[in-house]
Symmetry: C2
Subunit: 338 residues, 2 copies
Amino acid sequence: MATRDEVARLAGVSPSTVSYVISGRRTISEATKARVLAAMRELSYTPDAFAQGLAGSRRGILALHFPTSVDGYSSTEFEYVTAAMERARALGYHMLLWSNPMTDVMGLESLVGQKLVAGVLLMEVSINDPRFDVLRRAGIPFASIGRPDDSADLSYVDNDFAEAGRMAVDYLAGLGHQSIMYINVSVEDQDAGNGPAIRTARAISDAVRVQGMSMREVPVENNARGGRAALDAYLDLHPRPTAVLALKEFATAGFVNAAGMASLRIPENLSVIALGVGDRSAEMVAPALTTVAPPGEVVSHAAVDALVQKIEGSSQGAVQQLIAPLMTVRDSTGPAPR
Amino acid sequence: MATRDEVARLAGVSPSTVSYVISGRRTISEATKARVLAAMRELSYTPDAFAQGLAGSRRGILALHFPTSVDGYSSTEFEYVTAAMERARALGYHMLLWSNPMTDVMGLESLVGQKLVAGVLLMEVSINDPRFDVLRRAGIPFASIGRPDDSADLSYVDNDFAEAGRMAVDYLAGLGHQSIMYINVSVEDQDAGNGPAIRTARAISDAVRVQGMSMREVPVENNARGGRAALDAYLDLHPRPTAVLALKEFATAGFVNAAGMASLRIPENLSVIALGVGDRSAEMVAPALTTVAPPGEVVSHAAVDALVQKIEGSSQGAVQQLIAPLMTVRDSTGPAPR
DNA sequence: CTGAAAGCGCTAACAA
DNA sequence: TTGTTAGCGCTTTCAG
């Protein structure tokens, strides 16, 4: 691989001139610029990222912290990752996928201490997430997809759970449903401070109250077994709710499939709305799930934008944004049975 | 952030001594080692990754090239990514997720030219993948999950499609099935050189011949619509096969769901085996899919190991490994109807 | 408009 | 067992 000095020699200019035609931080005559560019192409020169990082301040890598999860990942979550990646690329950054456990505070400190990355984007943020303190103390730019409870000075992008809950409940109310069941994440997850679960529960119970409906909440694990457990819980309810709101896609699929086995007909006997589930997952299930979810790329894009703004100092203060959900009516919802 | 020189000063040693206690490339007396370690902790020192990369040879980052796909990603594919990430971390490397289109040869050249990454791991490899030439020419270590046709000198880890096809067909034969339909990827994907599709088709048709069975092949897009199209094709067949082998999870789910709508009973009327589909996806569908697939982490782990061996020169020659599939019998297979 | 030169924070060869 | 020093390939200030 050619170095900058070789390019300079070939072009008959000083090394710094080569740097300046690349960075554009100095006006260069068209003539020399052309010669330098030609030399660069001739030697197929690409600046060494480590040398650039050491000498300058610009570090062209973002870290995306996607903590390991026991439940595994859904394609919905993956959509966030790929969208973030694409946005980072569009803005001229590489994306380092970092998946240490959320509690690995030391690991995070060390990642940041290496100064490898220009900023950190956090995913799977909990209500009282320990990572914010670490990052704040380290003085590195960061932003998050999701937010903790104390988020006054933070840059984040999050789903508008309040709106999503209301939208789902209002839609069901419009179909004549009076009583719903909410399939929540497991109690352990709730205790761990799962923001989406907590905020969604709040939004739903508010909306239910406004509509004068009733609601039961059932916590289950996010897998097929959890879905079956939710169905068992449902069957034990008297009277049975006519609609179900569910948060996680594996549990939701499990519930719907178990309902089918039990000869419950969706949506004739029972309507189901999946919250926060992406299109592909919604269509893997029969009947295809009606969903209320934010467009995944919008969230990721906004979050990457917020992080980059912090890094490049192109904005003062924190960027805080709630992304409005979209409702996609598919085949799992219908009028309340009478 | 503290630098190495500050640590040295605090510990009362020379800067290089600090480096040597970190790298262990020199024997240091217990006394000074202890003092240096203490100073490092006191200043919470972490070596600067860019300085290390520039000065030394070791660049602690691997790139995982996961090309963007129009069909979106399944959770099965994501499992490969997360498993690779975990393995990289275990071996002391960071993982850069790189998702430029597969045809972006210049982008790949530039990534490599930056010398940011110590090696590249390729995913979604096609039969005549252009990336290998680029990497070979650049002289950078690389390995792949999947393999091209001309793979003599390459390091790769791939699924053992021949074995998978045989395993699936033999199992169906044992259940008395005589005639099967194979849901392949789209013709465009096949033309693009989709290795898994091509090798699986070959394996199945070989196994079918050996068993004296008959087979029909139907190419569809990997989404719910494709699955429905596959069902239409199935219903047009006379006589209808009693078993279906399918390659992609969204299409498979679409097929199974459409079959349910058409009152085809699985597995009573029709058995379905999903090839290469992960457990979570298999259980999102009703009935849960019998699968033949390699353990995803095994593939990724082996591939990362192969790459790191190339980087660290700890092995001569190419590492080539086919991972044996596992069959998980769930609810979508049963005896052939009579 | 362009060049010279001082680092950035390390690794590793050389010297003791 | 430890210290000294020459780079690694760039960015950017200081000088023309």
